[in-house]
Symmetry: C2
Subunit: 410 residues, 2 copies
């Protein structure tokens, strides 16, 4: 895989990235932090739910046979609130006051809503209205879940309703794949942090905050290491630090020029190069390597310094790697087919990932937005998708169907 | 709006919630935490970007006129790296070694890639290949952004690419609407926390972790207050604590029964009831109130104790309120039209929000999943959407078009 002279195709490059990427080991994690993580165990219920025949209304637990014509006067033998255990059975001609969620007493087989009753002066309760059938306003023990039943299987990405189910069956903590930590290091003597006003020759580091946001959206936990200057003494300790997390993202410093020291420093730290060029636009000078560390394998992505190149390389390669690390079966990126909304002139010798608007209007339509290339973050800002334009010297016709990668919303 | 005797329709109830809900005041927030928040200012660039004519390749800055036939030998007068300012102009017959991202020196109007050059023994550089046109491999000052230009407008929900743009124009901190804090309080003597094995008569609190996850998905910052017992001494201090955040979610304790103390405690703390019933299934006994506090207004939702009722009420009412608090123009919930994939028998006197599978296959199709009602969290677990079934005593025919609320993925 050391073919870093010939540029790989996007598919080859993604395959190479995923070959180096395995799901992180599962851990026992607090349920409160499990949202969005991949479940790493088949989950079996340890309880019947509900654990008893449960009243679904406030009212009276009764024997349906006593109320075949819908009315009757019954002796009230006890009161049962949620969280209490009934102490007496309900015999013929008897009833128990009962609250929503409370266990039904033995003998009773139905609940009459309190709205259909009134207390008599002698302490009995009068039931009126339509006939009462057995099972009315009762949830039978085990109707939701039975002990021993599998309620969720390993591999599921946990949604709020799944978290609710895990809570119901006592899975706190729960075995899940933890989110990957991702180190971010910007490189370049010309960079200053966004809060600083650039002096002559300087520009602000826009990739750092953008990659941090993309990492969050991709389910990673970002750790920003700052800006490294263009010399080995600055780069080496920061890269060493970044290699301690499962993923290190470097921004800038990986094209072929004289000051692009990064590949040399990486090699010196044992990082094996898998590829260093991808046949795509923007994003051609993407570097990908890996190194075995004490904690496992660290993936190293050297992202191009131009912001749209960096953004696109993240979406095409880093996000799928994060999904794989998170234990998700489908690494992505997501692709949808959409018809060009209008003619579009474009020529390139490489497949182009062009900022575009994807919209659903009588099927899916895609419309490339004005964009002048890899430095043009504003063009990307007007887009909600990347249209994949095959290489060629001509243009594209309205109605032609393209692959489109939808971008996530805010 | 104190009409809590007649149940409101879902639309009336949502309108009532949103009438009580205003966007939180903007704050100056660190850019690193701005992802997903609503921008609260129009953002104008304070710089030209790039701030100078910038080299887009490693190579030599040249005068195109010297290389009209594509070749020539040029004197190298300086080396310019990114972050440095050129010290000399490039005269006729001269060139400057230049790195990607560095400022073009005066006099030069193009860059020749290093791959097209070689250094001669006398120190000059030989350029070979195709003709060099002015502007080649140069990004002109201000091509991306001009100082004074508006790059983003208030109201935008910030995506990673917007965060990149904000960084480029120095907006750190940035004026944005902070995420709303949401207190969660479960109520009920029968509840135990998920990590505990329930004794007789007890059940686990599944709504707490589920609402916490829904709050996160809805862009809120949850704060779990625990489980309150069914008496005023337990409820009152916890509710008082919860009223200190802009939103308080109560789970359970709001139906009409004897032990449902919550509405009384809320009234005692000055909470005004807006409604207490909604004409829907599940979720009928939803309580909504509000109170003015030192910090502004606190919205109080009393969610039904049955897990699917609680889930659905959150999606229909709480999530839109959170979106409005977050400053988003479209409160939702999102609704899509989809055709029933198959006949479906269902009768109810209320509109039913039925767990369903929504899929795109020759248009949008919806398929209700097996579900036996408000306690059935497993039924919800098989769904990715809620199908809105109008009231009626009959059934629904394959092909009939329904409103469907898609649920977010993990």
């Amino acid at each position: 895989m050391d073919g870093h002279t010939r540029p790989l195709s996007v598919d080859e490059a993604l395959r190479c990235v995923l070959e180096q990427t395995a799901a992180a080991p599962a851990e026992a994690l607090p349920l409160a932090s499990a949202l969005g993580l991949t479940l790493a165990e088949d989950v079996v219920s340890d309880v019947d739910s509900p654990p008893y025949d449960k009243a679904m209304m406030d009212g009276y637990a009764v024997r349906g046979a006593d109320l075949l014509d819908g009315r009757g006067d019954l002796e009230v033998v006890q009161e049962i609130t949620a969280g209490r255990v009934p102490t007496l059975p309900v015999g013929p001609g008897q009833a128990a006051r009962i609250m929503t969620g409370a266990p039904l007493p033995d003998g009773a087989d139905a609940v009459v809503m309190v709205e259909r009753t009134r207390l008599l002066e002698d302490g009995r309760v009068r039931v009126e209205g339509s006939p009462t059938r057995a099972g009315q306003h009762i949830l039978k023990r085990g109707a939701e879940l039975r002990a021993g039943e599998t309620v969720l299987t390993a591999g599921v990405r946990l949604r709020p309703q799944d978290v609710g189910l895990l809570a119901a069956v006592g899975r706190d903590p729960v075995a899940a794949v933890p989110p990957p930590h991702v180190s971010l290091l910007a490189t370049g003597d010309e960079l200053v942090e966004p809060g600083v006003r650039p002096a002559a020759g300087q520009i602000r580091n826009s990739n750092g905050p953008m990659l941090l946001a993309q990492t969050r959206r991709g389910g990673g936990v970002p750790r920003y290491l700052g800006i490294a200057a263009d010399h080995e003494d600055s780069l080496r300790p920061l890269i060493e630090q970044g290699l301690r997390t499962p993923v290190l993202l470097l921004s800038g410093g990986v094209s072929a020029g004289k000051l692009d020291l990064v590949p040399g420093v990486l090699a010196g730290l044992g990082v094996r190069t898998h590829f260093h060029k991808v046949h795509m636009k923007p994003g051609k000078p993407l570097f990908f390597g890996s190194v075995r560390t004490a904690g496992g394998t660290t993936l190293v992505f050297g992202l191009p310094g131009n912001p749209v190149s960096s953004f696109v390389c993240f979406e095409l390669f880093v996000r799928p790697a994060l999904r794989r690390l998170r234990g998700l079966a489908d690494a992505g990126p997501p692709v949808r087919r959409a018809a060009l909304a209008e003619d579009f002139g474009h020529a390139s010798d490489r497949p182009t990932y062009h900022p575009a608007l994807l919209e659903e209007a009588d099927g899916w339509k895609v419309r490339p937005v004005p964009w002048f290339g890899s430095p043009d973050l504003r063009g990307l800002g007007r887009a909600n998708a990347l249209a994949v334009l095959p290489p060629g010297d001509g243009g594209f016709r309205a109605g032609q169907v393209l692959s489109v990668i939808p971008l996530e919303e805010g």
